[in-house]
C-alpha cells in the first residue's frame, strides 16, 4: 500500500461514523475537566490570606486548636503530599468532615442535595411553562399589542432579585392573606424534622402519604414561585428570540401554504427552536444549584446552596471543597447529557 492509499483509508476512517467520533471526543473531555475541577477545589484554600487556621478559628484560638485545624487541613505536611492524598481520598468518594458539625461531607450532601434538586426541578418546570408561554405568545403576535405586553412582563420579571420576590411573597401570601405557611422549612414545625426524608414531595407522592404531600407542596409553593418567576424571564427571552426566527422560516410559510392548522404550524416552529430552550434548561439548572442559595436561606429550605453558603461564611473548608466538587460534577454531567441530547435532536450540529 502506498502512502497515498493509506491516507485515503485514513480519510475514509475519519468520515465513517462521525457521530461516534464526536461522542467519544466529547466524553474524553470529562476526565480532563474533572482533574481541573478537583485541583481548583484543592487550591481554593490558598486564597485564604495569612494563616488559614487563624482565619477559621478567629484571633483568640489556642495553640492546640490551631494545631488541630492545621493537621485536619494537612497544612503540617508538604504540598505535594497533601495534593496526592486529597486526590486519593476524592477518588474513593471521601470528601472529608466538616470542621463545625464533624459530620462527613458526603453524609451532609446526601441530606441537602435532594432538597435543592427538588426545589430547582419544580422551579424550572414553573419557569419553563410560564416563560415559554410568554415567549411564544410574544413571537406569534410579533410587534403587535400582545408582544408589547409580554415583553413588558418579561422585563419586569427580569428586574426583580429573587430574594426580594420571595420576601414580597411572604408578606402578601403569608402575612396578609394567610394562604402560605410560615417560611420555616419544608414542613410545619409540628411534623418534626424533614431531614430524614430526601425528595420529600416525590417520596410522599409515591408512598401515597397525601397529608404530608399537601404540607410539603404548600411549603414549596412560595420558594418555587419566587425562583420560577424570575427564571421565567430567561425562558421568555429565549423563546421569543428563537420562536421569532423560526416563525419566519420558509418551512413555516410552506406549512401555512399547505393549509395546516395554525396550531400545527406553531408546533413545527416550536420543534425547530427547541434545542435553544433545552440548552437554556441545562445552563439554568447548573446555575440554580448554587443560585437558589439565597432563596433557600430565606425559606430555611436546608438545601445544598444554603449549606454551602453557611459553610462559606464560617470558612468551613471541607464544605466549600465538597460543594465545589459536587456542583461541578453535576454541571459537567448535565452538560455532557445536554450535548448528546442536542446531537440527537438536531443532527446538523457540527461534529468537530
Amino acid at each position: 500500500m502506498t502512502t497515498a492509499e493509506a491516507a485515503q483509508v485514513a480519510v475514509k476512517e475519519k468520515r465513517r461514523r462521525p457521530v461516534l467520533r464526536y461522542v467519544l471526543k466529547r466524553v474524553a473531555i470529562v476526565p480532563i475537566s474533572l482533574f481541573i475541577l478537583g485541583s481548583v477545589s484543592f487550591f481554593l484554600v490558598f486564597l485564604i490570606p495569612g494563616d488559614p487556621a487563624i482565619t477559621i478559628l478567629g484571633d483568640f484560638a489556642t495553640k492546640e486548636q490551631i494545631a488541630h485545624v492545621n493537621s485536619q487541613l494537612g497544612l503540617d505536611k508538604p504540598l505535594m503530599e497533601r495534593y496526592f492524598s486529597f486526590w486519593a481520598n476524592l477518588l474513593q468518594g471521601d470528601l472529608g468532615t466538616s470542621f463545625f458539625t464533624n459530620e462527613p461531607i458526603l453524609h451532609e450532601l446526601g441530606k441537602f442535595l435532594p432538597n435543592t434538586i427538588e426545589l430547582v426541578f419544580f422551579a424550572l418546570i414553573f419557569a419553563i411553562t410560564l416563560g415559554m408561554t410568554i415567549g411564544v405568545i410574544g413571537a406569534y403576535f410579533a410587534r403587535r399589542m400582545p408582544d408589547r405586553l409580554m415583553s413588558g412582563i418579561t422585563s419586569v420579571l427580569q428586574s426583580v432579585p429573587d430574594f426580594f420576590l420571595a420576601l414580597v411573597g411572604i408578606y402578601v401570601f403569608f402575612f396578609l392573606l394567610g394562604w402560605a405557611p410560615a417560611p420555616i422549612g419544608r414542613l410545619p414545625i409540628t411534623s418534626g424534622s424533614a431531614d430524614g426524608t430526601p425528595f420529600l414531595i416525590f417520596n410522599s407522592l409515591f408512598t401515597g402519604n397525601w397529608d404530608r404531600l399537601g404540607e410539603a407542596v404548600s411549603h414549596a409553593a412560595l420558594p418555587v414561585m419566587s425562583l420560577g418567576l424570575v427564571y421565567a424571564s430567561y425562558f421568555a427571552k429565549t423563546a421569543r428570540g428563537s420562536m421569532g426566527t423560526a416563525l419566519t422560516t420558509p418551512q413555516v410559510e410552506f406549512a401555512r401554504a399547505c393549509g395546516l392548522r395554525e396550531r400545527t404550524v406553531v408546533y413545527y416552529a416550536f420543534a425547530a427552536s427547541r434545542t435553544t430552550v433545552i440548552t437554556y434548561i441545562a445552563i439554568l439548572f447548573g446555575s440554580l444549584l448554587g443560585g437558589a442559595a439565597i432563596v433557600e436561606r430565606v425559606f430555611n429550605w436546608r438545601g445544598m446552596g444554603q449549606w454551602a453558603l453557611d459553610g462559606v461564611l464560617k470558612v468551613d473548608v471541607p464544605i466549600i471543597q465538597g460543594f465545589v466538587v459536587t456542583a461541578g460534577l453535576l454541571t459537567l454531567t448535565l452538560f455532557l447529557l445536554l450535548d448528546l441530547v442536542v446531537l440527537f435532536l438536531d443532527p446538523r450540529v457540527s461534529y468537530e
Binding site: I29, S33, I36, L37, L44, L47, I48, P49, T55, S155, V156, Q158, S159, V160, P161, F163, F164, L167, V168, I170, Y171, F174, F175, A182, P183, I283, G286, S287, L288, L289, G290, G291, A293, I294, R297, V298, G305, A308, L309, V312, L313, V315, I320, F323, V324, A327, G328, T331, L332, F335
Partner: protein
Amino acid sequence: MSDTTFAQPSALSQVFTKTVNYVRASPGIVVGGGMLALMLLASFLAPLPYDPMTPDPTAVLKAPSGEYIFGTDANGFDVFSRVIAAGRSDLPLALMGTLASLVIGLLIGLPLSVKSKWSEGFMRALDAFQSFPLIVLSVTIVSLTGNDIQNILYAIVIINGPRFIRLIRGEALSIRDGRFIEAAIATGARPRRVVFRHIMPNVVDVCLVQCSLTTANAVIVIAALNFLGIGVSPPTPTWGSMVQVGAQAISTGQWWIAIWPGVAIFIAIASLNMLANGIQRQVEGS
C-alpha cells in the same frame, strides 16, 4: 439676506422637537438613562431628612407616615434616608465593576479573536468556568479573601468578565472577515494596530449594550452579597443589607423596611435594562 427674513422656529421649540424626535427614536435610552441619572443625582445631592448613619432609639419600627415617609427599622434608622444614601455606594460600585469587566473583556477578548488552537482551548476552559454556579464561587472567594468592599468588585468581574470576553471575541471574529481589515493588513498595518485601530472601535456598540446589562447584573450581585452580610460594614447603608434587616420583620408585617430598598433595586435594574434595550434597538437600526 439676513436670517431674520425666514420665520425661524424659536430656540425653545427647536429643542422641544429635537427631544421629541429623540424620544421617539429610542424611548428606552431616554427613559432608562434619565431614571438612572436621576437616581445617581438623588443619592448624592438630595437633602436627607435624617442622618442615615445615626439611629433614633425612640423611633423604632414606625410605619410610614408624614414624619418618616418610608418608616423606620428595628434599630430606629430612617428608611427613606438610608434608601437614598445607599445609592452612593451601590451605584458607583456597580459601575466600577462593569468598567473593570469591560477592560478585562477587551484585554483578553481581542487578542483571543486571532483564531488558533490555543484560543479555542481557552474558550473551552471559559465554558467550563462559566458553567459553574458563579455566585457561590464569588461568595466563596469574597468571604475567603476577607470581608472587604473591594472584593465585591472581584466578584462582579468573575461573573461578568467571561461574558465580555465571549462577546468581544465573537464580535471581533466576525469583524475580521470585513474587507477593511483585509485592506488594513494589505497596507502593512501590524496586528496590534489592526486590533486597536480597526477592530476595537467596531465592538463599541455591542459593548455598550452589554455594559448596561452588566451594570444591572452587578446591582443584583452587590445586593445579593450584601444581603448575605458580605462586604457590608454597618451602619453604612446598602440596599442589600437593608433588605436583609427587613427580612426579619416581614413575617410579622413590617413590610416597609425590606420593600423600599427592594423597590430601589428594582428601579435601578429596570432602568438599566431599558437603557440596554434602547441602545440595542439603536444599534440594530443604524
